[in-house]
């Protein structure tokens, strides 16, 4: 399992708060790794800083996924970063209101974010500013809705052979 390395966590928090004091909303040590919530305008600069800093060296973007918070009417993005040299992982979170779902893209920092952001756009509708080719990747190209938002139904709506009275839906 991941070991929590307190010195590296504190170093990361200290460096981030010294360089980006107003953008860090919140940081918390969760069960498995440090989790930092930042404002969306500075996420591009923060990711670049984390990658290039000589002591932190987060050279690997493990994954990027979207979230929907219906109670706050917000869409979010969660980044997991990994530093091979120090064997340290952190989680970065950012969110944006549903009415204006734009977030700076990480493709210029890590090319691996290309398809991950397309998938997040496909599922949630988050527009990544600066992405070279933001089109749908997994769903049908002419789909209008964003399926992984909580209000979208899971089941195929064109079936007429299901008898709901038998299943207590």
């Amino acid at each position: 399992m991941f070991e929590i390395i307190p010195e590296r966590d504190q170093l990361t928090v200290a460096k981030l708060t010294s360089s980006f004091a107003n953008s860090i909303d919140h940081h918390e040590l969760m069960k498995d790794m440090l989790c930092i919530t930042v404002k969306k305008e500075s996420i591009g600069d923060i990711l670049l800083f984390l990658r290039d800093d000589k002591e932190l060296q987060f050279n690997f973007l493990t994954t990027l996924c979207g979230m929907h918070y219906p109670e706050k009417d917000q869409l979010g993005v969660v980044y997991h970063l990994h530093s091979f040299v120090n064997n340290h992982r952190i989680r970065l979170k950012t969110s944006t209101p549903i009415s204006d779902p734009t977030i700076p893209s990480a493709t210029s920092i890590w090319p691996t974010a290309n398809w991950m952001e397309r998938e997040t756009y496909d599922f949630f509708g988050i527009q990544f500013v600066g992405h070279p080719n933001l089109t749908r990747i997994l769903n049908v190209d002419d789909m209008v809705d964003f399926p992984l938002r909580k209000e979208f139904p899971l089941e195929d709506q064109t079936r007429d052979d299901k008898d709901d009275s038998q299943f207590g839906r």
């Binding site: 399992m1 070991e3 493990t62 994954t63 090319p111 398809w115 599922f123 899971l154």
Partner: protein
Amino acid sequence: MAKEVNSDYWDKDRVKAEEPKEYNTLNVGPTHPATHGVFQNIMLMDGEYIVSTEQTIGYIHRAFEKIAERRPFYQITPLTDRLNYCSAPLNNMGWHMTVEKLLGIETPKRVDYLRIVIMELARIADHIICNSVIGVDSGALTGFTYMFQDREFIYEIYEEICGSRLTTNMGRIGGFERNFSPKAWEKIKYFLEFFPAKLKEFETLLIRNRIFMDRTINVGAFPLDRALAYGFTGPNLRACGLDYDVRVMNPYCSYEEFEFTVPVGQNGDTYDRFMVRQAEMKQSLSIIQQAIDKLDALEDKETYYARDPRFVLPPKEKVYNNMEALIWHFKIVMGETDIPVGEVYHCIEGANGELGYYLVSDGGRTASRLHFRRPGFIYYQAYPEMVQGTMLSDAILTMSSMNVIAGELDA
């Protein structure tokens, strides 16, 4: 009388200037025997050389992440089977470990060792497919037919343990559903005896074969820094030269007690990927042998699940006879237990790389959000860069050596 030919007719520059280059569009479409799964590459070809590729995936998109928001944790295991369906037990075990991390369940040592035996068998099964298919795509079909006999034997081992061959749904959160039968152990031990010789036979067919070497050395070579930037993990990254293996960096499931080496290549070309997978199969055999020795050395030969009644389903004999077991079974299945609120990310060394599960729970019976970090999806992005300027036959070999499985691409 011979016709007079202008002396400058064969002047190459003149020929070039008069015939403008035309690119062909070739659709290596979703239904194609060389693409192992349904995904499409629309290639712009200059004769036999590829100028650029455009990829389309999503032809088998089944919305796992959306389904997972509706199912309780133990019902998501069959979904994880179908991610990288060549090594289904690996995905199942990874999912169980993620949920155990969220719920805070400690599995006993015996369960860990049993899991390791299964996970390494699944890794061998996946590498058998990938390597024999590299052989098939370069023309050597015999290796494929011989290796698949051994994969059938692995299927028989799975059948002894969980009843099903391909999509295994093996194990439960906290352990397994039943102890491995003596027949299963017999089969596993027999597999460890006969498989090394078969592997050697397959190797001698290909690895010093002049034709195979010419077709795979320096084909699809990828430099290490680009591979890291593209998020490569697993055998593809190890073939480029970096020894990143999740079992060593972030050990899970008692892997730190096992001794194994991590094979590493040099150039990141197809030959290196083939050789890294071959070497990994041998390491897996050694790990299975060590696990069997450790299991024999443990005094306890009966536990196969963690004793945590709040979240681990009790075995059926107890449920039918014991009142408490019945109550816990009811509570777990009906969703009356208190699932902790929180989020957890767990990753395992899947057959293709770092397979990660990001699970967010809001205390309800189902997950609030589940995201799969699928290695196939992530490194397939690098394919256009890998094949630009190469020939079509080399591009097909590169694709098969990367081991892209459609179920993992689309989820």
